[in-house]
Symmetry: C2
Subunit: 467 residues, 2 copies
């Protein structure tokens, strides 16, 4: 007895998912809610920055042709406080960083290159000694030198990071058009599956790892995550849970379990009845029974209204399969919905820290921890590094040559063992083949976590020579 | 007139900050609030996983010595539903993935290797044909094969990512001891600084970019961020803002502006009066006037109670300086407080996509966007890549050889131009020297954003050969 579903390769599965995923519409958010969102509309600068010629230093605004000498201080320009005095030749004005350069002055002398002098008599005028001549324009930012009025400072499709929040504030963009982020429901299935708080376990029970994990994964992807609990293994209860997801108007439903070949594996038949199942088996390890369907739903405004779509990802029940499938197919869909132009996982290459046995039946996504390290001394990779240094005319002593990403396996990869995802920041793409890949082999790796927290090798990582 | 503060190197500044930063105490959080937190206590497994011998497949539990043939189906074991029937030689039981293997059976035959047979007569016993012999133990996970009762599944000091949430749920750890995360107040300073919503700007005014940006940065670091607004350039108002931070019991105060050498730069004198200023100038570009102080405060339980500490980071007012200093010195401190064992920014090496002029006066942190790319054809780096492939015995055609991190500068690096931080995911460490570094030079880079969103080169990145 075989499955009714054709086994398709993972790139095909990913393409099918993205072809059926549409970016969500635009919504308006305030600046404080913009971090992580994707702009749906370009942002223009309403004015130039600086809006006036601005001093780069604390010091004195001068007429550059005046040169070294002693001068009366005829006024001051502080950030936020302008004297209207023009600076005439033979005079200077005190100025602070960021303040407007007064008319007449064409350079700034930093305070370190000056000396205060005694005032000219009781209540007399302040005086200063200028110790260095200035060239015209010195230490002045011209109007618009950072941003010109009308410039596109951020384009539609750009993601708002920390710096972009600052850029938006700079140009006064406090209300933004961004892509909506998806609402994602998470449902576990299985009569054996009990709440994580259950202690001790009854006979035959296991705790629900997938739901908490997938809720966290969806939230980290910027989605609004909705907990639908655990569905029992009856068609009726499962159908009720699907109805709940529809009623809550979620964009995505992620289920786990119920997609293998047991007679209580009810997800696929249910999705066949209510929508279109695009695939039900994928040639990958782990994750073979991965299922994807779309449901076309009425929009609540009568039968003539344009419909809305719900994506359903039926992930396998084994927690590792569920973890891997989330990253490979669900996450790119969530990113595309949220407006990412390039939603796929980023791929890099890494060297194997130890030999890895291949799977002869399916391509495997092997969980690993990438770290930036020197090659093990005496290894072929160390010799390779020396060759790079020579060929690239790196100084042979360059401490940077030969450091690369190294992939350390998380150990036993059986799909029930979620510890194989502990500390994993990448999935290695291992070909379906007999045999073993040697330590030091270059393999491609998909990033699934921020490398900003990756392990640091003993002795650290060297800096640019001379730094 | 020079600064009263000695100019110290950035590694010394970073060391001083971390030496004055203590991890915060432990608090208890629920599993739903655990993502991103650092465990303050190891987590043990209260029971084994699987808690019973579990089937890896949907199929039939058999006695392996029985072999190929036709057998009566004497019971079934479904996940969540156990028949108590033992499986005797000459009989089999139906079983689903994850279900307990009944006593007597020692292997599972997957359903694909079986055929259902007509029942023996009306209402008679179900029968099945087994088409493949099994070895003992086949497709069974023994008790504790994933996790043994008493195992440490996560150690103190580990950060909780998506997989770790699942692991915690698996072992029933729904209440966790984690490090507290810091409460961080953000204050801008300057009479010229106005709210981002201001349009049009009055004479001499600029919008406050730093506060929104630093609040976002603190929030992204997992801190509770408190907005203290903008302080006017008077000692009294600034002191009131500091008092507000103290009253709100923040762990960290981040100010921007007011640390250069103007006579209204009041941050340093204020911190000198109320605490200890550890440094007030750092040999770096941008960020030279960076200031760090600690305040020892009474804990509110009378003068005999042990005090508490507040860290104060006086960042320069230029938004890029503020951005760079946040990542180099504030972020590691926030991470250490939150329990990170290795709080420093992660360092990698990257090749320059274009020549970069060095600064002869200070080491520079040059903002750039890293991407994983092949070397430009015909470049010395392409030759180097070929040499690596040879020396490492990579197949010469390996599409992975020669791909590396390439650093694309964000353009004009003047510290007022926040667009130089747009899309930046790393800071290049450029030595203080005369001259220019050639395109293709390897330089060290500190990661300041997730590489999971880095640009993808045209044509994409290749996979492991054969994948
Ligand atoms: Mg099930
Ligand atoms: Mg100021």
């Amino acid at each position: 007895m075989g499955s009714a579903y054709k086994m398709i390769p993972i790139p095909e599965a990913q393409a099918i998912v993205l072809a059926n995923t549409r970016p969500l519409g635009a919504v308006t958010v305030g600046l404080a809610g913009a971090l992580g969102r994707v702009l749906a509309k370009e942002v223009l600068a309403p004015d130039s920055l600086p809006p006036f010629p601005a001093s780069i230093k604390d010091g004195y605004a001068v007429v550059s042709s005046d040169g070294v000498g002693e001068y009366p201080v005829v006024g001051e320009s502080r950030a936020g406080h302008l004297d209207d005095l023009p600076v005439q030749p033979g005079t200077v004005a005190y100025i602070t960083t960021g303040a407007p350069v007064p008319p007449g002055a064409d350079a700034v002398i930093q305070v370190e290159d000056t000396e205060p002098l005694p005032a000219a008599g009781e209540g007399g005028q302040r005086r200063v000694r200028i110790n260095k001549a200035a060239r015209a324009g010195q230490d002045i930012r011209p109007v618009g030198s950072d941003i010109m009025q009308g410039d596109v400072v951020l384009r539609a499709g750009e993601r708002v990071g920390v710096a972009e929040v600052g850029i938006l504030a700079t140009v006064g963009a406090v209300q933004l058009r961004v892509h909506a982020t998806p609402k994602v429901a998470v449902l576990s299935t299985g009569d054996e599956v009990v709440d994580p708080a259950t202690r001790p376990l009854g006979p035959g029970q296991i705790r629900d790892a997938n739901r908490s994990m997938l809720l966290a994964a969806a939230a980290r992807a910027g989605a609004e995550a909705v907990d639908l609990g655990v569905a029992r293994d009856t068609a009726g209860h499962l159908e009720g849970c699907l109805a709940a997801a529809i009623a809550q108007r979620v964009d995505v439903l992620i289920t786990s379990g119920g997609v293998s070949m047991g007679d209580r594996d009810l997800i696929k038949p249910l999705l066949e009845r209510q929508g279109v199942v695009h695939f039900g088996r994928v040639w990958m390890k782990p994750g073979k029974p991965l299922t994807f369907a779309t449901l076309e739903l009425p929009d609540g405004d009568g039968p003539a209204a344009p419909g809305r779509q719900m994506l359903v990802f039926g992930l396998p029940g084994n927690p590792v399969s569920s973890f891997v499938c989330f990253h490979l197919v669900v996450l790119p869909a969530l990113r595309k919905m949220a407006g990412w132009a390039a939603p796929a996982l980023r791929r890099v290459a890494a060297r194997l820290a130890a030999p890895l046995r291949l799977d002869p039946e399916r391509p495997e996504y092997h969980r690993c921890t990438l770290q930036w390290s020197p090659p093990p001394p005496g290894s072929p990779a160390a010799a390779a590094a020396a060759a790079v240094a020579t060929a690239a005319a790196e100084p042979p002593s360059s401490p940077l040559a030969g450091h690369e990403l190294w992939a350390v396996s998380t150990g036993n990869q059986i799909s029930s063992r979620l510890l194989s995802a502990r500390s994993a920041n990448a999935l290695l793409e291992l070909p379906c083949a007999e045999g073993t890949l040697a330590a030091g082999t270059l393999v491609s790796a998909l990033l699934i976590d921020d490398l900003g927290g990756m392990p640091v090798p003993e002795g650290g990582v060297p800096t640019t020579p001379g730094f």
